[in-house]
Structure formats: C-alpha cells, structure tokens
C-alpha cells in the first residue's frame, strides 16, 4: 500500500522534461526556493597533441584501432615528463583518458626492453577493470604484452606464472604489503626488470591508508634498491588541492604534476539544493532523502541515466527501495534500478557495472564505492544525498554525470546537519573553495614501527640506515628488545618465527571481514561481506540487513567466527543502531589559555559501544520500537584537541546551570562544524565528544548526522567538580594528524564558530549552527544566545 502511495506521488510529480537542459529549466522554475546556488560550467573543447616522436608504429596502430589518431595534451605531457626521467602525477577528471597516460609509456617500455611494470589500485575491482582494458588494447594492436591481476583471489598455481611471465602486474597495496614484499626473492626476476610503478587514484591514499601506503612504498623502494633498480613512478589522482605535494609525500621523491586536462567535456549544470523548511520554529527541514528520491524520479522519468549517491549503506538500500517501488514494481519487466555498495559480492557489483555501461538500467544508488574510477560509462544526472564531507569528493561524485558532448546535471542536496547547511548556504564557498588537500602522516610512530618491522623481515637493516626520513636504529633496538630482531654488530636481522605483514592491516586497525550468511532456503549462501568496523553497527542480532533493498533479518551474530546468519523477511521497517562513545584523557602534549577557559592537545582513549537499535518504518520514518544490542566495546587510542571551561567561569556568565550546559553543547556543536571545514576532514575522521573534565561521553551520530544532546546525559556528569569539555578527536588509532593543526588554530576556530552562530538566520538555534533544539527550548532563553555566550568565554 505504501508502495502504491509512492507510485501515485511519483506520477503526479512528473515534470515532463525530456533532456538535461529541459530538466534543469523545469527544476529551476518549480523549485526556485529550494535552489540556493546554481552554476553552469561551460563545455570545454578538447586540446590535442601529436604522437610523440619516440612512439612506435605498432602502438600508434593499436590506438588507431580504437579510433584514436592523436593524444590529449595531458597524455602527451605525461609521456614527455616520463621520457625526461621524472616521476609524474596526472590530475584530470574521470573519463579524460587518464589511463593512457601510463599505459602508453609502459607498453612501449615492455615492448622495447622487456621492462616490467607494477600497477596499484585501491580496490580489486579497479584492478580488474584495468587489466580488461589493457588486454583489449593489447589485442587491438597485437602488442604481445602480458598483463595479469595479482590479488587475494589469484590461485596459487597461477602465481608462479605471473611472477615469471607478467610484464604488467596489476595489484593493490595490501598485496604488495602482505604477499609480494615478504616473498620478494620469488619476484627477483620481476624486480630486476621493474621500470615503472603506476599508482592510480592516489587521492584515496590519505589518512591512515595513505600513511601506510607511503611506508609500503618505502619498503618497495628498499627492495628495488636491493635488486639494483630505481623505477619511475606514474601517479594519477582525482582533483585534490595538493597533488604534487601529496604524490611527493607518498613516494618520497620529487614529482612533476600535470594538472591541465586536454579532454573535452560537455556543459555541466550544478544545483545546490536545500530541502524546504517544514517547521520554521525549530529550523527543521524536509529530509534530504525525500528530495533525493524525488529528484531521481524526475530525472529517470525524463529518460536521463541517473546516479544517486547516499552517505551510508543503509541509506542506499532505503532509497533503492523507494525507487524500485516506483520503477520496478512490475516483476515481469526488466529491472531499471539497482543498488551498488561495498559489501555486495564482487560478481553482483560487476553485473551492475556492466548494466550501467551498456545502458540497460536507468538508475543506480551507490555509496562512495562508485566515486572511484570504476568504469560505468557516462551518465546524465548525479544526485548527492548529503554533502560528502569534502569539496573534492563532491566534485568527484558530481563528475560521474558528464558526457563529452551533452550537458549534464549535478545536484547536491543538503541534509540537516550543520556542515551540509553551511555549504549549501554559502554557494560562493562551494564554488570557490580549493579542493581539499590530502594529508598523510607516514612518520606516525606506530605506523612507522609496524613498517620498519615488516622491512626488517624483508632485508636486514644496517646501523644508521634511513627508512623514509628516519634513522631506524632506535626502532630496531625496540624491536630487538621485543625479540623479533637479532642484532649482530652493525646489523639487525629478523629472527622470529612470524610473518609481520600479516599482523598489519593497511586500512584499519582491526581485521577480519564478517560474512553475511543467508539461511532462508535451508542451505547457507553468503550474500554479503561487511568490514569489521561497521559490523557492530549493522549486523547486531535483530538488525534488518538489506541487499538490493531486499530485507534480511539477522538471527545470530557469531562475533568470533565473523559470521552473521540471516534469513529473508518481509517487514515494513528498517533498523538503525544507537551508539555511545566514552572518552578519557591519557596524556596532555600541550596546552594554552582560551579566553576564560583552556585548550589542550593530547592523547585520549575512546571506547565506542553499540547499545541498541531503533526500528524505523519505511515512508513515514516513525520510530516503532527499540531493541538491545550486546556486543564487545570497540576501543581506540588517539589524539584529540579539547576546550574546557571551569564551572566558576560558567556560573559567572550564566544564571542557571541548565543554561550554561545548553550553551556549552551548542558551542561544541559549532566548534565541531568549523573544525571540519578548517582541516577539511571528512566527518568520520574527526569526531566530537562532550563531557566533564578529563572524561566525556556522548551519543554517536546516526545516519542523518543528528547529534542528540539529551538532559539525561548531562546529568550523568553531575559529580563533584563539573568542568564542561568538548573533545574533537581523530577517529583513527594513534591519531592521524588532525588534532595538532586544530590546536594550533584553536583561537581562529573559536572565532569562526562565533561567526557561524552569530550569522545564522534561524531564530533560536537550528541544525545549521548549534544543533537541533527541543521544542520546549523556544520559550526559554535562546539556545543560540547561550552558545554565543559560551564561545565568548572561550575567545
């Protein structure tokens, strides 16, 4: 019945457009008040360059067979830079022929001198894409180049052949780390011929992952030196603010950046969309989800191929269901809508990619999984349900719509959370802000220690040997003391019976994927995989887990065995977890005064617990029940920056303790927002916790980013001395270098937060400035005023 409602609504709202331009016209006409920003990016004519003089005939023929008679300017620039012996990073948009920048020089080197090349992609899917493209190119020109993927799925008997016969080995950083480097003697022949190392999608290697990769590359270069080679690096990136610097930080060597794309692109419309206000007093807006589904319906009805990006796997399933209820309600007709996200099995994802490429489906709903360069052909409309958290990721997603010749449309829909509201209300910020810089901290002590341990396994260390930028001796002494290394004179050798790379995961602290096992039909079928960090949030017993919007209920979670047993179900609700965070200060690195309070930077211990879940009914989104969850806590030791006020200081400025607390919570909310903008962190990388003194607890963020600061939580900290504190912490073990710059900019942040709150257009406070407020707050002193009062104390 609900589906029927959705259907009729959809029919009513048909705009009757039949082209991108038409749709843009209708949208701007009908929804003028929701569009806070509109810009048009003009079509760009291609810039070509002739083939370089050194390029062989057969390569030119192979290109001709694919209809290419000249190069884009950036492809030629890359060729020239490499020919001049430089490491190169190419920064151009998706679908600009980026991969030819490395295929051409690599294939030439393979053919002329039987050189070898190693390609690294962040995911297996991208690696398989590239091998398919290489093989096709190879066939077209009969080039005789042997390219293979080498990943966790490569069978053992094929590995030997790949090591010996592969000209181009296409792999991922994890395999280099765990399988290639620790067995480098088996790869001796490959290393001896290694001429190029290609690393694509380098913008994804930031934070922890990037810091690990930089160290894997240090190890790789160390092994290369052993075999007497120093390969050139070719890197590719989506648009980021610091491609050259980031590439240099990753490979630890100078890099030439090629940033001007020569590829053509069609005209592009970009709309910033703010859902309408439905309760002006509380500043509550319609959900971004409702807007995203509506826009997707308009676009698909206008016969435009559409992609919707959602912020979470759960939201992907919810939106997919709503769109399927409209477009796929007739099971006799071919499917028009599909979901795509991490956790689906590879075969299912490949199938969706194929369907997108050949245009057999009309809409896809995805997480950031499709942000990367997976080949899905060209689409017309990209709809972003929520601000992805960074300018770079926003453009990356918007860029998924865009054809060479035709216009395309991208819509960024703001959710109610503060960061989204900030961006959508400052279209000039969005339009002019440089894309984020990618940060890595390769010398983070624990990461460095992990990789020196792995490096020592691979080759002995000599006294005074420099790893990256650090003389390794002290690290080696520490490892020797723990018994894994043995020192003999000026040399440290690996001595333990263990395989250190196995214990170091490049992507997260904890390892071990969970598999989701469907027991519906009596047999056990694996239907999905869930990574460790999100298992607690999605696979608790009682959870509704959705795959292609088909709900499954989790019946049993085997935490140790990493399995969740589910069965198919028909329910009209989905579940959303409730999690709590507790934080404790371990050590202060540095501190300063902040107005009448203090600001510190140091090390903290964070414990996260999923305490229960809510059942939320489809369509109405009413909360229809709760369930308990008992799962182990997840712990994290990291760095944080925190502001603290004494009770006395607060008491001086506020008449009631309740006011002081409300003000503090509002200020904390605003500080978190401006801090995210300031370090250009993604929301999940920088978390907030509010409490008293050296400890804090808070509710986590649920799917819409609603922060809930309830009176009961405050009461919890009403012990002897009450000193409200807001912590902003790096959401990675050991910290990843976000909190230190925040500490250095603390005063500026407080000013920015004041400005954000002071300039907000709401009455008493709203999700865009100090967070959602309770209806009862309206009658009392304005929470917004209270927050300003607290920020004044900290300034």
């Amino acid at each position: 019945m609900l589906a029927q409602t959705a259907l009729t609504t959809a029919q009513r709202s048909d705009l009757g457009a039949s082209s991108t331009d038409g749709l843009v016209g209708k949208l701007t006409e009908r929804y003028r008040d929701r569009i806070t920003g509109y810009f048009k990016i003009p079509a760009i004519a291609p810039r070509f360059s002739p083939f370089p003089p050194g390029m062989s005939e057969s390569l030119i023929d192979a290109l001709a067979a694919r209809g290419i008679s000249q190069l884009y300017s950036h492809q030629r620039e890359a060729w020239d830079a490499l020919a001049a012996g430089q490491n190169t990073v190419v920064v151009t948009p998706t679908a600009s022929g980026k991969s030819l920048c490395y295929h051409l020089p690599v294939i030439e080197a393979v053919r002329q001198s039987r050189a070898k090349a190693l390609y690294l992609f962040p995911t297996k899917a991208l690696a398989q894409d590239q091998v398919a493209e290489l093989l096709e190119f190879n066939r077209a020109g009969d080039l005789g180049v042997r390219a293979y993927t080498f990943d966790g799925d490569t069978p053992n008997d094929a590995r030997q052949a790949i090591r010996v016969h592969g000209d181009i080995v296409v792999s991922n950083p994890d395999m280099v780390h765990q399988a290639i480097l620790p067995h480098h003697t088996k790869w001796a022949q490959f290393f001896e011929g290694l001429r190029y190392i290609v690393i694509d999608e380098v913008h994804t290697y930031r934070g922890v992952f990037g810091s690990h990769l930089a160290n894997v590359l240090r190890r790789l270069k160390r092994i290369c030196a052993f075999y007497g080679v120093s390969p050139q690096f070719i890197l590719c990136s989506a648009t980021i603010g610091n491609p050259k610097q980031h590439a240099e930080a990753l490979i630890g060597a100078p890099v030439q950046a090629i940033t001007r794309s020569g590829a053509a692109s069609g005209e592009r419309h970009v709309l910033l969309w703010n859902p309408p206000v439905i309760n002006p007093d509380l500043g509550i807006r319609a959900s971004s989800r409702s807007q995203a589904t509506r826009l997707a319906r308009h676009a698909i009805r206008s016969k435009l191929k559409t992609i919707v990006f959602a912020q979470s796997r759960l939201m992907v399933e919810v939106i997919t269901k709503y769109l399927k209820d409209v477009f796929d309600h007739d099971p006799r007709k071919p499917e028009r809508i599909r979901a795509y996200r991490g956790g689906y099995l590879p075969t299912e994802r490949r199938e969706t990619e194929r369907a997108l490429r050949n245009g057999s489906i009309d809409g896809v709903v995805s997480t950031s999984a499709l942000e990367l360069g997976v080949d899905i052909g060209s689409l017309d409309v990209a709809i972003l349900n929520g601000y992805p958290g960074s300018i770079a990721a926003t453009w990356q997603r918007l860029g998924r719509a865009g054809r060479r010749q035709q216009p395309s449309l991208g819509v960024m829909i703001a959710s109610s959370n503060a960061l989204d509201q900030y961006v959508v209300r400052h279209p000039e910020f969005f339009q002019n802000a440089p894309p984020e810089t990618a940060r890595i901290a390769p010398d983070q002590l624990l990461i460095l220690l992990d990789h020196i341990r792995c490096a020592a396994f691979e080759l002995p260390f000599s006294a005074g040997e420099v790893f990256g930028e650090t003389v390794a001796d002290d690290f080696l002494d520490v490892l020797a003391e723990s018994g894994v290394l043995h020192r003999e004179g000026d040399r440290w050798d690996w001595i333990a019976d263990s395989y250190p790379a196995q214990a170091v995961s490049l992507r997260s602290v904890a390892d071990g994927n969970f598999v989701v096992v469907d027991r519906s039909d009596g047999k056990q079928v694996i239907i999905a995989e869930v990574d460790y960090s999100s298992a607690a949030l999605t696979l608790y017993e009682g959870a509704i887990y959705m795959v292609q919007s088909q709900p499954f209920q989790v019946e049993r979670l085997d935490w140790v065995g990493r399995k969740a047993f589910v069965s198919r179900t028909t329910v009209d609700y989905y579940t959303d977890s409730i999690d709590y965070t507790k934080l404790k200060v371990l050590e202060r690195f540095d501190g300063s005064n902040a107005g009448k309070g203090t600001c510190h930077h140091g090390e903290v211990h964070v414990v996260r617990r999923v305490s229960g879940y809510k059942k939320i009914r489809f369509y109405t989104h009413e909360n229809i029940g709760y369930g308990p969850v008992t799962l182990p806590d997840q712990e994290l030791q990291t760095t944080a920056v925190w502001w603290q006020l004494s009770q006395a200081a607060l008491a001086e400025a506020f008449t009631s303790k309740q006011d002081a607390l409300d003000g503090f919570l509002g200020a904390a909310y605003a500080l978190h927002t401006v801090a995210q903008v300031s370090v250009m962190a993604e929301g999940r990388d920088l978390q907030k916790a509010v409490g008293s003194g050296e400890t804090a607890s808070s509710s986590g963020y649920d799917q819409q980013g609603r922060g809930q600061w309830l009176a009961s939580e405050k009461a919890e900290s009403e012990d002897a001395v009450f000193s409200p504190t807001v912590h902003l912490y790096d959401n990675h073990p050991g910290g990843i270098g976000l909190s230190e710059p925040l500490f250095l900019r603390a005063a500026q942040l407080v000013n920015d937060a004041r400005e954000l709150v002071a300039r907000c257009e709401c009455k008493a406070g709203c999700p865009a400035c100090i967070g959602p407020i309770l209806a009862s707050d309206e009658d009392r002193r304005s929470p917004r005023g209270l927050a300003l009062g607290v920020l004044d104390l900290l300034a």
């Binding site: 088996k186 901290a441 930028e469 002290d474 690996w494 001595i495 333990a496």
Partner: protein, 292 residues
Amino acid sequence: MSALASKLRALQQQAGSAPTKSVASPTVDIAQRLRNLVQGRERRRAQPLVAPAGTEVAAGVYFVERRINSTHTCDAWMPWGDLGHVARDRLVCFDTETTGLAGGVGTRAFMIGALQWHDSSLLVRQLYLTTIAGETAMLRIFAGWLAEDSVFISYNGRSYDAPLLKGRYRLNRLPCPFADRGHVDLLYPTRRAWRGVWENCRLATIERNLLGIVRNDDLPGSEAPAAWLSFLRGHSAVNLRRVIAHNDQDVVTLAALLDRLQILPLEESALAGKQVRTATLPARTPKLEIYP
C-alpha cells in the same frame, strides 16, 4: 606531520606537557616511547657460548662430519622421478633446520645437513651458524660440496627446503645450486606406497614404522628454532647439540628410506611412479641396509 613534528610531540610528552623544556637527545626519547608502546622485555646480552660441536670453518660457520661404513655402491633406482638409475656418488641427501615455518624471506636455514656416498662409505656433513653473518659462507660451502651432476634427495624438500634455500641464495647474491640439478623428493613415492597405512606420512612416522628406527632423546623438529635462538642469544647450547643429532639422523634416515623404496614390489613401484617397463628394472634387487 613531519618526522620532526612527531619527534617533538614525543619529546613534549616525555617532558610533561611544558613545550619549552629542552631535552638532550630527542632520539633517546623516541626509543623510550616506543619501548613503552611495545612493552618490550628487557633482554640482557650474555657472553657468546661455545659452539656445541665441530670446528669453525668460516666466521660464524661450524662444520661437523662423520663417516659410516657401507658396502653399498650399486646405482639407485628411482622410477618415480625423471632420472631412473643414478650412480650413488651423485646423490646428495639433504635436510635443513630453519628458524620457523612462517614463510617469506624472514625465515632462514641455520643448519644444513648432507649425506653423500663416498669411497664405500657414507659421509655425513653438517654446517650450522653461530652468527647470522655466517650465512653467506655457509651457503657457499654447501654449494661447494656439489658436483655439476649431483642429484638432491630430500623429504618434502621440493616444497620446503629447496625454495627456502633458493631464496637465501638470492638474498646473499649467490648463484642458486638448485637451479640446474635434479631433485628427487621421497615424500611423493612414500606417500603413494604407504598412504593411510600409518597415522601420517611424516618422516618420523615412516622411519619408526617402516624402517624400525628408534631415536633416543630426540629433539622434535618444531623445537629447533627455539634451540638455535637460545644459543644465539647466549642462553644455552644444550638443545642446539640435540638439533645437530636430529638433523644428522634425518639425512641418515633419508638414505635408508631410499634403499627401502628400492625393494618395493614391482606393482607398488609402478603405483609409486609412472609405468615402468621391465627392461629398466635393475639387474639385481639391492638388499636393504639399515644404517646406525
């Protein structure tokens, strides 16, 4: 964050939270911080121990040798390999003791034992390391024992010992002696002939049940890594002596097993390897000789 910043941060932590305090050497503090992180145990380096057996033939390499009388000189018949008849003096039964089973280039062989037929006797020679730095010399010496037409005999050596040594030769930038020599792994014919007869086909099981060899005070192979480490760290040489004896018996057992495989009934031989034509059978069946 730069390395310098990391160090400074660690420094600040060491010096309490006061950022201006000066400390003599930041590197000392980094080490201290790391020590805390890994909670490494304090280990005292003891005086080097006296090697338990043999003579030092190169820096850090000890050599042990013994001869066993044998009248056995006929060719070895190995229908299960590609080699068929091989003159006894070409055979090299070998076995290594390693630092573990973890695999990868971090695992090394600290002992190599070899048995060769030599002038109507069996020559058992062993090399072992008393320092890690001796590895290159040990690998060189072992390669020196081989003739161009030597044939390796091992038990599971094709999958384990040979690839491991191959990696070690590569790491030490030495030519690999396994590259162009024959290698007969007795595990395969043994398994074909006696699979399922005893609980498993491990060498210890086979030698006890098939060859009737009983070892006294044997140190299980799995304890060899700890024994060597204990010696290397100056704690004790006792178990390393037992490893030497264990390794010696392993190669002797190999020779005995080879002989036992010679007298397999024809059908078992055929089962054990590829089809053998009668014409290639040896003129006389060699008799089984169990070595001491």
